[in-house]
């Protein structure tokens, strides 16, 4: 019988080996799923993971990679801080919507003026919108001890109702012939967030994502805030003795993730989406949670995980078009990925051992046979 024994410290090897393994296992399980749906599994896997990069339409799909990855990486980087400290901001989707709404509203207030200052102002407003929305659960948690998971999640539903209200009401395009949705921000030079280098998909959101990854890396490795976050996550008691205020940490982590999610929303609404519309939110805020875990809550890991998750989005769309694979299959695929990752995490903190064999070290580990 195989039993688990706790490692003295998490295995470094397994910490980084489990994400690729989880991806591999998801491909196998996904292949079985696709086979069950009556599709050739190998073709499906190739369409999702290979064709977007090197297939016949790669020239068209490759730029999409950065466009889809940018919001995921931006949001996940912010979430990583909270998740490391044990603060669960599950409502990034709502903060993303609010960022898009406030940013677009501030920009449209100046319409049709043309100025280079409008776009930076919109980015600022977007970040602020996300920040304010994240402050609701943060302050409630600090002041009243309210569960931030539930509050931030409830606010997603509030935000999507606000979005519908704004798209049909105050932000509706006055020249839009009564159709819901705002003016097209892509077609207005002051707010358009277009590709900076044609054919790469690199827009300001991708730039911001890269900056955020570098800054987060610096914060975690060199700054006292990153240290406080890591310490609080590993040992709340030690953090309290070190004089780290849990309240400040909650506000800092939630605010940071909210602001980044809000910025991601603004970059999306001015670029790829183009306008505030009812179906503007497509779940980046939730997928970013998977990205954050898949990237091990580490900025560089998140960069890689974001690109991979973007690949499954694009590949999923291609599989829809070419193989008639249902859209929901890719959602299931992403959920499976997180499952496999969490399941294999057991290998980083525990060691598998056959019962009866002597323990490799003379610790109390041998006594763990009870379970």
């Amino acid at each position: 019988m195989i039993i688990l024994e706790r490692r003295p410290a998490p295995s470094r090897l397994w910490t980084w080996a489990t994400p690729p393994l989880a991806v591999l296992m998801t491909m196998i399980a996904g292949g079985l799923l696709f086979a069950a749906l009556g599709k050739d599994p190998l073709t499906a896997i190739r369409t999702i993971f290979w064709d977007p990069l090197f297939g016949p339409f790669a020239g068209f799909t490759r730029p999409q990679l950065l466009i889809k990855a940018a919001p995921l990486i931006l949001i996940a980087t912010g979430l990583a801080f909270g998740f490391r400290a044990g603060i669960w901001n599950i409502g990034a989707e709502g903060q993303y919507i609010l960022g898009a709404l406030t940013g677009a509203a501030v920009g449209l207030a100046f319409y049709p003026a043309e100025s280079r200052l409008i776009f930076p102002l919109m980015v600022l407003a977007g970040a602020l919108g996300g920040l304010v929305w994240a402050m609701i659960p943060a302050l409630l948690r600090v002041r009243f001890g309210t569960n931030e998971i539930l509050v931030s999640l409830m606010l997603v539903y509030v935000a999507s109702n606000l979005l519908a209200w704004a798209a049909l009401g105050p932000l509706r395009n006055p020249e839009g012939l009564g159709f819901p949705g705002s003016r097209n921000l892509r077609q207005w030079a002051s707010s358009a967030n277009l590709e900076l280098i044609p054919g790469t998909g690199l827009h300001w959101g991708a730039v911001a994502a890269l900056v955020a990854v570098c800054a987060a890396y610096g914060l975690f490795a060199r700054h006292v805030f990153g240290f406080a976050v890591r310490l609080a996550g590993q040992s709340p008691r030690a953090a309290a003795f070190a004089g780290i205020s849990p309240s400040h940490l909650v506000i800092g982590c939630m605010g940071l993730s909210g602001a980044l999610a809000g910025m991601a929303g603004l970059f999306e609404v001015t670029g790829p989406a183009g306008q505030i519309s009812i179906d503007f939110a497509v779940g980046y805020g939730f997928t970013a949670i998977i990205v954050a875990f898949l990237g091990r809550l580490h900025p560089l890991g998140i960069l890689a995980a974001g690109l991979l998750m973007a690949l499954t989005y694009i590949g999923g769309e291609m599989a829809q078009l070419q193989l008639g694979l249902p859209a929901a299959a890719i959602q299931l695929f992403q959920g499976m990925l997180l499952f496999f990752l969490l399941a294999m995490d057991v290998l980083t903190t525990y060691r598998l051992r056959l019962k009866g064999r002597p323990a490799p070290e003379p610790s109390s580990a041998a006594a763990e046979g009870a379970r």
Binding site: L4, R6, W88, I90, I136, L140, R143, F144, G145, T146, N147, I149, L150, V151, L153, M154, L155, Y157, V158, N161, L162, A164, W165, L168, G169, F286, I289, I290, F293, P326, A327, A328, A329, I330, Q331, L332, F333, Q334, G335, M336, L338, F339, L342, A343, D345, V346, T349, Y350, S364, A367, E368, A370, R371
Partner: protein, 310 residues
């Protein structure tokens, strides 16, 4: 605007129906949390139950077998959660989220074949004499069997948790798993049972939405009901009877906002539809800031992984 169109009797009657799915899911989660397992995947299990129940009911033509299928579907999904959390010791918060994402994807995939299909009609149980009572009749005695099942389960769960030896054991495991283990209780098995019960009830709650409330399959049919169920468990400070109160409160608000929408009250529809979520937040704030500090009532080992040292 025509507020006179809203009849208080009908309002209370539909409150009973509207609160049933949340009540069922919350009751299951309450038992799971009392055993020390925080399963944030209620939304995923509910929506899985909604589609399995719908599919089984359409295939067999019987809503009853549909409900059984829904409970099985919800329990199957929660088994996945239990294996990950109890034996592979993954983080409960992250695994619960994964369960929700997975469940929504699974339900959407399976549900594609059922868009636009009508569910078999689930007959109301018009109690002969009691149903004819002037005001109480329509409010209390003209519902379908699942409404009464929900009420019965509240009493049953209360009795089990607070009046039986097995319930005491379950609570002991949730309060302090190390002490319970030292007493020789099978911590993992008791938790497995509680999680499976939670999954089955969440599945039932989901099926009530797709088979009775709506009654058809639409993607995202649960619309956050699972998360509201989680909030109600906190609201009830893990006590079954308070849970009933919470479910009625939220059922009442969602029914009221629908009625106000229908009465064309000059408030934007979107503002009305966000009301249940806003009220949930407000109630959570009130509960957690109150003098009793509901947080103190939370099971002691809630969310902690168990690894037997001896």
């Amino acid at each position: 605007m025509n507020l006179s169109g809203i009849s208080p009797v009908l309002l209370l009657a539909s409150l009973m129906v509207a609160s049933t799915p949340i009540l069922l899911a919350a009751l299951g989660e309450l038992v799971a949390e009392r055993s020390g397992v925080l399963n944030l995947g209620v939304e995923g299990m509910m929506i899985t139950g909604a589609i399995t129940g719908f599919a089984v009911a359409v295939a067999t033509g019987s809503p009853w077998i549909g409900f059984v299928g829904a409970a099985a579907g919800g329990a199957a999904l929660s088994l996945l959660f239990a294996v990950l959390v109890l034996w592979l010791r993954s983080n409960q918060v992250a695994t619960g989220l994964a369960l929700t994402l997975f469940g929504i994807g699974l339900a959407a995939l399976v549900g594609q074949a059922y868009v636009g299909v009508r569910a078999p009609v689930f007959a109301r149980l018009d109690l002969p004499v009691l149903g004819d009572l002037p005001i109480l009749g329509p409010i209390l005695f003209r519902h379908d069997a699942v409404v009464y099942l929900g009420l019965g389960l509240v009493a049953g769960v209360w009795w089990f948790l607070h009046r039986t030896r097995a319930g005491l054991r379950l609570r002991a495991v949730g309060e302090n798993h190390d002490a319970a283990h030292a007493l020789g209780y099978k911590v993992q098995l008791i938790r497995l049972g509680a999680v499976l019960f939670g999954g089955a009830l969440a599945g039932l709650g989901g099926a009530y939405l797709s088979l009775v409330r709506v009654p058809q399959w639409t993607q995202g049919v649960t619309a956050g009901a699972g998360w509201i169920a989680l909030a109600i468990v906190v609201f009830a400070s893990w006590r079954p009877w308070r849970l009933l109160l919470g479910a009625w409160l939220f059922g009442g608000i969602s029914v009221l906002q629908l009625n106000l929408q229908a009465a064309r009250v000059p408030i934007p529809v979107e503002v009305l539809s966000m009301a249940p979520y806003v009220v949930t937040i407000l109630v959570l704030v009130l509960i957690s800031s109150g003098r009793g500090r509901a947080a103190l009532a939370a099971p002691g080992s809630l969310g902690q992984p168990f690894h037997a040292a001896r």
